[in-house]
Symmetry: D2
Subunit: 106 residues, 4 copies
């Protein structure tokens, strides 16, 4: 799935439920932050080693994956509202990172 | 670009710089939260109407797009560490949302 | 209650449960972020007017107050670990803000 | 300094600058999240041991203390808007925590 397909799906999901009126930029950015908080909660008292063990359990791994997916879904809805093309945005940011942090020897 | 291509790119970027040792699950989740904080900063004192006007400026829009892209990039790196397939994770979460919030008449 | 009294209380609470080993700087900062996410969740789909009405209900108001208190409690524990005197830190930050944003006519 | 004194100070600071109109519940909660993101940034790539060394430097420690203070200042302004008494809220939350996590032998 690419970002344009994801955008089509989440916008169709939203429109089928008539939720556009709730999807203001601030509400969507807050929603992404709420879901990121839930992601952090899985890691709250764990060491990195604990976390790597924790996600060996399929159910735990799916719970973490769900939180990551939720953040991405809300960011996709936010990008839609702001008419940001996520494919383009991610490509451009990767290029900026390449320029900002050149590999030694480049 | 789909999530597998994005994953390949961000992992290649990281490995070229020998940054894997910094990319623990906690550090990557914290990094996503840092970037989401920077995204929220753009909206901090603005109304939703202000925000919609603000992103009419191409430079402002690109600045917001950069923050969204940064969160997605860190989440992709986190998913990679945890061996979560983001394509699958997002598809599954969309299906769960469909079940959790049925459309009236379904 | 001032910050020194709060610090004494939360450290005594923690020591009685032998939780010091979990209270690393990163875990405590993550915990503050988790609780702030829960605070944001109360405001996620509401307008500011909705929120002002929502907290007229005593139970709702207490739920919001609990989240704010949780963030403050974790930040107090974090400050304790880093040997930051919160009374002093807040006083100093208020002075910096006064200098950074002078009142017109000052 | 206790929470009532802090509240008086931050509200006086705000009113002297005529900023009340910006201080909606959502804006203040977002502001607390922005500052918490800046706090997390200090810890982003560090181990807990690095962090403990980092704050031995007085300037670094003050920078971290400033971020913690900023979160507390915004939460105090938020509590003020919602007519939440922070002294009372923190006391009540500490009591709830005592009940939720009894000390073995209690």
């Amino acid at each position: 799935m690419d970002f344009r397909e994801l955008e089509r799906k989440v916008v169709a999901f939203r429109d089928a439920r008539d939720w556009k009126r709730y999807h203001t930029p601030k509400n969507l950015a807050i929603s992404a932050a709420v879901e990121l908080g839930e992601l952090l909660e899985h890691f709250q008292w764990e060491t990195d080693e604990d976390i790597m063990n924790y996600v060996k359990d399929q159910e735990a791994k799916e719970a973490v994956a769900d939180e990551i997916a939720d953040v991405i879904i809300y960011l996709t809805l936010l990008a839609h509202e702001l008419e940001i093309d996520l494919d383009e945005a991610v490509e451009r940011k990767l290029r900026k990172n390449e320029e900002k942090y050149p590999v030694r020897g480049d």
